[in-house]
């Protein structure tokens, strides 16, 4: 898999970033779930940080269209690349990189923090969406099944839930309680908050870590999940909320107003 990806990146290097590049994600109003919304926002932020224009396309079948089965993915030229990691590699092959200036130690540190976000925040999101009976029956399953006709809506949502629960069991999360999940989120927020300190970005200038952290924290802050108090936990770390506000103003609000 890796060799295929690196080969694809090498082939991609010959061409510049295409003007008609598109980012495919799920419709935000009635279908997308917290974990996918966070991943999509992270990729969108990353591309904005690289100053690469993309057209965002909302497709209810985006998950099936993605080569890895996960959203988001980009369609650039003849290439289809999904998820943040491979997209970062692909973009680097096109000559755009945010982490080029970091030294080896910083790069390793950045990777470690990205792993932390994926292993704790993303896993916590998936736990809440699919392992919590209340949330999964009230929110996740109906939203996930919404684009499909009866009885596919139920079948596909149940199938998805089984798959995620199996994955949660493998990483030892399936049996966690709500308090333990709150604890996990709190611990990773503390780690991120300590690393960030009073800086604007984790490593001086924006990197893919900033995009990933922003994607998850912003999505968690703006989503109200019955029975959970994740936004309150994050708000205990004012530097993290400021970090989100800063990126939001700098890359989203400003670029929007400049277009208008």
């Amino acid at each position: 898999m890796l060799s295929v990806e690196s080969l694809a990146s090498q082939m991609a290097a010959a061409e510049p970033w295409p003007e008609n590049a598109s980012l495919y994600q799920l419709p935000t109003d009635d279908q997308i779930l917290l974990s996918d919304a966070a991943s999509c926002l992270a990729v969108q932020t990353f591309l904005k940080m690289c100053n690469l224009p993309v057209l965002v396309v909302f497709r209810s079948s985006a998950e099936s269209m993605s080569p890895s089965g996960k959203v988001p993915f980009i369609h650039a030229g003849n290439h289809v690349v999904s998820e943040l990691g491979p997209i970062v590699q692909f973009v680097r092959a096109k000559g755009h990189s945010l982490s080029e200036s970091l030294n080896e130690q910083e790069k390793a540190e950045m990777k470690a923090y990205m792993e932390l976000v994926n292993n704790s925040l993303l896993t916590a999101e998936l736990y809440i969406l699919w392992c919590d009976k209340n949330v999964s029956s009230l929110i996740s399953r109906p939203r996930y099944g919404s684009p499909f006709p009866f009885p596919l809506d139920t079948i596909l949502a149940r199938q998805k839930q089984r798959e995620i629960v199996r994955r949660m069991k493998a990483v030892g999360w399936a049996e966690k309680t709500r308090e333990q999940v709150h604890d996990e989120v709190d611990q990773s927020c503390r780690a991120l908050s300590q690393r960030l300190g009073n800086h604007k970005y984790f490593f001086g200038s924006p990197t893919e870590l900033d995009a990933l952290v922003f994607g998850h924290l912003y999505s968690l802050l703006t989503t109200d999940i019955p029975g959970y108090s994740i936004p309150e936990i994050i708000r205990n770390y004012p530097n993290l909320t400021n970090f989100c506000k800063n990126i939001d103003t700098h890359f989203f609000l400003q670029s929007n107003t400049s277009k208008v």
């Binding site: 295929v4 694809a8 497709r59 209810s60 079948s61 099936s64 269209m65 080569p67 369609h75 003849n78 289809v80 499909f148 006709p149 009866f150 596919l152 079948i155 596909l156």
Partner: protein, 345 residues
């Protein structure tokens, strides 16, 4: 005949092999009911199915069949992998000299790309859909043999309406097959066929690649590769919403010895010319536009070959083809082409 029979066989088809295991419960409830279960495992296709057949007492031709199936298939000409799971209900009945079938089916279809390099229009077709449709087929068969007839007419008209009994796929599909055979002196037979089809999707969504028509190959338009005619993207064929195909054959028993039982009975040589076209329709053009589009960019080929009849259900063909009317993007088979199948143009 024992009530329970089992079967095992292996099949080799177009670049694929498969193995099938089946079980059959004949006369299950004492009124010629039949329960058939089969499982087939192949290099490209895996399927299993269960069907229950019940004829009306005293009229075997009037019967009902209920089926459950799960079919996984790969279509390399369009880089598509398709998984179909569904139920079907068929009602067969004769009316005068025609046979009719009314079929309801509900199929959960899952489409995905065969490889990472599949073209983007094929990738856009990926996903789940539910097709629920009502179909009616009428067949008139006055031929003296199904595989190598010497006289008679065959007509099949099929129409399918999807979307009114549930599901998210909505279309009306019309298809027609006509074959005329005429005996000539010295045991020669002149056979002509005409096929046509039209798919009209309803609503905003364009037609799905799984519903569209595909044309080309040794059993349809000879001289072209399997389903390699018409709209395409990169190296994937996308199928079309309308098609027509016509073929003219001159079969002769020469040089295999006409009239002699055995060898001459199952072999024929033939000269053929076949033509056709497949295109997508955009529905703003009106009838005249569609007809002119189907008439332009014609595909045609001629050639000669040997036909072998396998029992009364299938036939093999070995032809030498000259694809003459070729359009940009078509994949041709210039020279020797081998075909096996049960339905031939």
């Amino acid at each position: 005949m024992s009530a329970l029979t089992g079967s095992y066989n292996t099949m080799v088809g177009n670049n694929e092999g498969s193995m099938a295991i089946g079980g059959k419960l004949s006369n299950m409830l004492g009124r010629a009911e039949r329960l058939v279960a089969q499982f087939s495992y192949g290099t490209k296709e895996t399927s299993y199915g269960l069907s229950f057949f019940k004829p009306q007492t005293g009229c075997f031709e009037r019967n009902i069949t209920f089926g459950l199936f799960d079919v996984k298939g790969q279509f390399p000409w369009s880089s598509v992998r398709e998984v179909d799971r569904g139920v079907s209900f068929d009602f067969n009945f004769p009316v005068w000299r025609t046979r009719h079938t009314v079929r309801w089916e509900a199929v959960w279809r899952e489409l995905s790309c065969l490889s990472r390099t599949a073209s983007f229009p094929v990738r856009e077709e990926s996903g789940h859909s539910l097709k629920s449709s009502l179909a009616h087929t009428m067949v008139v068969d006055c031929r003296d043999s199904t595989i190598l007839p010497s006289k008679g007419v065959y007509l099949k008209v099929n129409q399918e309406l999807a979307g009114y009994t549930g599901g998210d796929i909505r279309f009306l599909k019309e298809e027609m097959e006509l074959q005329l055979n005429r005996s000539l002196p010295w045991g020669c037979v002149l056979s002509s066929s005409l096929w046509g089809g039209l798919l009209m999707p309803f609503g905003e969504r364009p037609s799905c690649i799984a519903d569209r028509f595909f044309l080309g190959g040794p059993t349809t338009i000879r001289g072209f590769n399997m389903y390699s005619i018409g709209p395409y993207a990169e190296s994937d064929f996308l199928g079309g919403d309308a098609y027509w195909a016509a073929g003219l054959h001159l079969y002769t028993p020469l040089p295999f010895g006409p009239g002699r039982p055995g060898f001459g009975d199952i072999f024929r040589t033939h000269l053929f010319i076949n033509a056709g076209n497949l295109c997508s329709l955009d529905y703003g053009e009106g009838l005249r536009g569609h007809v002119s589009r189907l008439g332009s960019c014609l595909r045609w080929a001629y050639g000669a070959g040997v036909v072998l009849r396998l029992g009364n259900i299938a036939r093999l063909e070995l032809n030498y083809c000259f694809p003459t009317g070729v359009q940009l993007g078509d994949r041709i088979c210039d020279g020797v082409q081998f075909g096996a199948g049960i339905r031939f143009l």
